[in-house]
């Protein structure tokens, strides 16, 4: 079975763990305990194929920034999460994305931009959907607004990422060897 290493990144308190736990265990964790690092495994079917996801839920707080290089090196796909109720968490992601590209030394890395907490009232929303869509367009990646609480677009994030990784790894077909015909 194919294995996918997925890393969930984003500022503190945006709901990385809530999304991950909702995805893996199907429950919503209400309480906020800053994560240090948690690793989960989950099997899902994407495009008729069984695959195992190894989801690494990371710390969002600043103390752990030095670990990020390592996460980025090991991860295959990245979930970049911000909270639609906190502008700064949105602003932080551009640097994260730059860092991923730098570490991977690539122009494109499988990535999904996620605006979490989309269940909040409009009065609490501070990051518009169009802002998210624009940033995703700039990143050249998928954009989803999700809610771990209301279970909106949760598995979609991971499915999309798996598809992106699949597309990426598709090997370039080798040119056919020319056969010699001996007369």
């Amino acid at each position: 079975m194919k294995e996918y290493k997925i890393v969930v990144l984003g500022s503190g308190g945006v709901g990385k763990s809530a999304l991950t736990v909702q995805f893996v265990q199907g429950v919503f964790v209400e309480a906020y305990d800053p994560t240090i690092e948690d690793s989960y495994r989950k099997q899902i079917e994407v495009d008729g194929e069984q695959c195992t996801l190894e989801v690494l839920d990371t710390a969002g707080t600043e103390q752990f920034t030095s670990m990020r290089d390592l996460y980025m090196k090991n991860g295959q796909g990245f979930v970049l999460v911000y909270s639609i109720a906190a502008q700064s968490t949105f602003n932080d992601l551009e640097d994260v994305r730059d860092q991923i590209l730098r570490v991977k030394d690539k122009d494109r890395v499988p990535m999904v931009l996620v605006g979490n907490k989309c269940d909040v009232d409009d009065s609490e929303r501070l990051v518009g959907k169009d802002q998210g869509a624009n940033l995703a367009q700039k990143f050249g990646c998928t954009f989803l607004e999700s809610s771990a609480k209301a279970r909106i677009n949760v598995s979609e994030i991971f499915c999309d990422l798996v598809q992106q990784i699949n597309k990426e790894v598709v090997p370039v077909p080798k040119p056919k060897k020319r056969k010699c015909t001996i007369l």
């Binding site: 690092e37 948690d38 707080t61 920034t65 030095s66 932080d92």
Partner: protein
């Protein structure tokens, strides 16, 4: 004729507001047809009066104007002769008409002449003469014709009549006076001539009289002329003078304005120069090179001078760029540049010396403070260096090369101190951990580590690789264990606390001293600042990591070392590190980052350890003993939980532990069920019963809210197992009776009445009595005794559930007894058949058996 005139006036000229002055009936000379026409002279009623000549023809419909001319267009009129009726008028062309009568023609010509005579350029009148008498009468007639003799009476704007009003008045007066003398014209003339001559005479007289006066007047006029000439001459002189002065004044004015411009220019120049000189001026001059860096005053002065020098060198900002091309400016700049270079060199070498010096002395005397497990703060150096902060800022701007090399020197020399101190700190921490074992008096110092390793290893193995042979963990040994654990954690806490202030102080010092302001992260833990972003922050982080690289490695190796001895140390380490790393004030500090990285390592160790526990539970086998009793992993879970609770308490990392609690308990539940199914001699129910009973009591004691569900599950599973066991092994001690009554029940359900059961062959009263006879009280007791022995053999001493089971069996027996009794009373009423023992007997048997063992 007047009738025609009246008609004409009324029908033709009324409407055009003209007055008909004269009319003559004419016909064209060359026409044979004699159509009478009227040649009319009219004047407009409104002033100025315009005279017009009309040719009006009479038709059946009335009068019709055929042609009209203004009077001024009349150039010539020919009267021809007195005898002829013909006359010519030269208008735009020559017209020949034939008047009706001479009178009309005369009257018309007279009128024409009269009107024309007042025009400026009267037309020529040929062959027409008018005598004086006529003229006079005509003049009088004028009033009749009512042509006003008004000076304003203008024909075509430029035609005027001769007499003024006054002249007319005088004339009238004269004529008035002469009216009565008109008859005697000669006399009147004479009189007039006489008066005239008198007047002439008087005139001459007065002229003669006034000659002298005229002469004197002439004289005075001559005089005044000569005076005027004089004055004129003078005026000319004056004018000359004034003209002269004027040119002089103009000149002066010009000069004045030029002087003003010059003055302004001078002022500009002066201020520009003053600016330039002020900008370039560096009064200290080469004195700066002798700056005294050894006293506070000296440093302050040097700082002031250095900033003055900076100011002077930054002239580009203050003065016009063109001025920079001035030779003296360039020279001065060069001179200042030289000063700057020399000064920065002096400063650099001085500071470098200071750094190295402090690097050396601090490393010597610091070991004493390390003994308190506290990384010493190099206050001495900070105090000495702080005065240079401004100079450092100066250097950073003015000489980045020197700044860079100083930074390097600083890093190199201070790095040594920290590296050494960190090493000493951890050495000391190790010694203290070993030392505590010594004080516990159990082992000699030299084998301390081994002792710890051995004991923890044992425990670790018992948790991680349980093979079933659990070494019993006496409470006494456990407490030593936990106190040692506590000691380790205390030391770790001290180490963490001891590191923090020094590193933070150093970070703050570097940030201010080397002017690397940290990007303020007031947003705290909701914001991540990429370390690569912000050159100052990145630079600061770089310096910090080269200064304190030892901490992370030492801390990691310290923890790994002890975790090798006792894997569960990672739990406490995680909690302690978590407390430090996640402190709000550590969000953006370097030490916070170190702790964060180590914390992630510890979290991983913790996850690994927990995973190994879960794995161990999953891999566990039944002990080969006859009675498995309480499974090792159940007791181990309790030990683990007790220890974990003591470590985690209410710490922030509790959620990590609880996640594993759940996973571990799932493994424990599964393990119990799995091993219960595998058991050979001992029934699976017993294993489940005993273990779930224990697990429930463990969870009740732990009182972890998150595990409430698991506690309930354990209780349910325990009850299930107990019931299962009792029903299975208590079985039916009165088996034949049971079978008899099962047959009874079957019949009843087939439709046989309960009261008629006794008439059935197989269930007759005699048959019932026979079956009852087989279970006398003695027999029953014997059966129960053997059951008790069997149960005793099944159950382990661990959980001491024998009494519980025995009691459950007693309950079960009574239930069976009661059901049999009720069936007898219903199916065999009045037969007085009873079992050979009573409920009291049963209770007695059970208590006797229980007591006898």
């Amino acid at each position: 004729m007047s009738g025609v005139k009246f008609e004409l006036q009324k029908e033709v000229f009324e409407s055009t507001k003209e007055r008909l002055h004269g009319v003559v009936t004419v016909q064209k000379t060359n026409r044979k047809k004699k159509i009478p026409a009227y040649l009319c002279i009219t004047g407009s009623i409104e002033r100025p009066i315009r005279f017009t000549i009309y040719l009006v023809k009479k038709t059946e419909k009335g009068f019709k104007r055929k042609q009209e001319w203004t009077l001024s267009s009349l150039k010539e009129s020919n009267y021809k002769s007195k005898e002829s009726l013909e006359f010519d008028l030269q208008l735009e062309k020559s017209y020949h008409w034939l008047a009706q009568s001479v009178e009309e023609k005369d009257a018309f010509f007279a009128l024409l002449h009269q009107i024309c005579s007042r025009m400026h350029r009267p037309p020529k009148f040929l062959n027409f003469h008018i005598d004086e008498e006529d003229e006079a009468t005509r003049n009088v007639n004028m009033a009749i014709v009512s042509v006003p003799k008004d000076t304003q009476m203008i024909e075509s704007g430029d035609e005027e009549f001769g007499l003024t009003e006054r002249e007319e008045f005088d004339l009238e007066k004269v004529l008035g006076r002469a009216e009565n003398a008109v008859v005697n014209a000669e006399a009147f003339m004479e009189q007039l001539a006489k008066e005239l001559s008198i007047l002439d005479g008087e005139n001459i007289h007065s002229i003669m009289d006034s000659e002298a006066q005229v002469n004197s007047l002439m004289d005075s006029i001559d005089k005044s002329i000569s005076q005027l000439e004089e004055i004129e001459n003078e005026l000319v002189d004056y004018e000359d003078a004034v003209t002269h002065v004027k040119s002089a004044v103009e000149k002066i004015e010009e000069e004045n304005s030029q002087m003003g411009t010059a003055a302004k220019n001078n002022q500009h120049l002066l201020s520009e120069l003053t600016n330039l000189i002020r900008a370039l001026d560096f009064p200290v001059g080469s004195q700066i090179l002798n700056a005294d860096f050894n006293s506070v005053e000296g440093i302050a002065k040097a700082t002031k001078d250095a900033y003055a020098l900076k100011e002077a060198l930054n002239i580009e900002e203050n003065i016009h760029p063109a001025l920079l091309k001035m030779r003296s400016v360039a020279d001065q700049k060069r001179r200042l540049e030289k000063f700057k270079q020399k000064f920065s060199q002096n400063l650099m070498s001085h500071l470098a010396k200071l750094f190295i010096h402090h690097g050396n002395i601090s490393s010597i005397d610091s070991s004493s403070t390390v003994q308190a497990l506290r990384l010493p703060i190099i206050n001495l150096m900070y105090n000495e260096l702080t005065p240079y902060t401004k100079l450092m800022g100066w250097l950073k701007v003015m000489d980045s090369e020197a700044y860079g090399s100083l930074l390097k020197t600083y890093t190199l020399s201070i790095q040594k101190i920290y590296e050494k101190n960190v090493r000493i700190l951890f050495e000391e921490a190790r010694t203290r951990i070993s030392g505590s074992a010594t004080t516990s008096g159990k082992l000699s110092g030299s084998t301390n580590d081994l002792r710890i390793r051995g004991r923890f290893f044992g425990k670790t193995r018992s948790l991680a690789n349980r093979e079933g042979d659990t070494e019993s963990q006496g409470s006494g040994e456990g407490s030593v264990d936990s106190s040692e654990r506590q000691h380790f954690y205390d030391i770790l806490e001290q180490v963490l606390e001891g590191l923090e202030p020094s590193v933070n102080t150093e970070e703050k010092f570097i940030a201010s001293f080397f002017c690397l302001e940290i990007g303020s992260s007031s947003s705290g833990n909701v914001s991540i600042v990429s370390p690569s972003k912000g050159s100052a922050g990145g630079e600061l982080r770089r310096i910090m990591s080269s200064l304190f690289s030892a901490i992370e490695t030492e801390l990691n190796s310290f923890l790994t070392n002890y975790e090798k001895m006792e894997a569960s140390f990672c739990m406490g380490a995680m909690v302690r590190l978590g407390n430090h790393a996640l402190k709000a004030e550590n969000t953006s500090t370097y030490i916070g980052m170190i702790f964060g990285s180590v914390l992630v390592q510890e979290k991983r160790s913790f996850d690994r350890l927990m995973n190994s526990y879960v794995q161990a539970i999953n891999d566990s086998r039944l002990p080969r003993k006859a009675k498995p009793g309480i499974l090792a992993f159940v007791t181990d879970f309790e030990d683990f939980a007790v220890m974990a609770e003591s470590i985690f308490g209410n710490s922030a990392r509790r959620s990590d532990l609880e996640k594993w609690y759940v996973k571990m308990l799932t493994a424990v539940f599964d393990g119990i069920m799995r091993l219960a199914g595998e058991s050979g001699k001992t029934p699976g129910e017993v294993i489940r019963m005993e273990n779930f009973h224990r697990l429930h009591s463990i969870l009740s004691r732990l009182k972890v809210p998150a595990l409430e569900q698991q506690k309930k599950d354990a209780k349910i599973k325990y009850n299930e197992a107990l019931n299962g066991y009792v029903t299975k092994y208590f079985g039916r001690p009165l088996i034949k009776l049971n079978e008899f009554f099962e047959g009874v029940q079957a019949k009843v359900s087939q439709g046989v009445k309960e009261s008629e059961i006794g008439y059935q062959m197989a269930f007759s009263r005699a048959e019932l009595k026979r079956v009852i006879k087989e279970y006398p009280a003695k027999e029953v007791k014997k059966g129960l005794e053997s059951l008790y022995r069997k149960v005793e053999k099944h159950l382990s001493e661990d959980e001491n559930l024998l009494q519980v089971v025995w009691r459950a069996m007693q309950e079960e027996f009574i239930v069976q007894y009661k059901s049999i009794e009720s069936l007898i009373s219903r199916c065999y009423p009045g037969s007085k058949i009873t079992l050979e023992f009573t409920i009291d007997d049963i209770l007695l048997f059970f208590s006797e058996i229980a007591q006898s063992h």
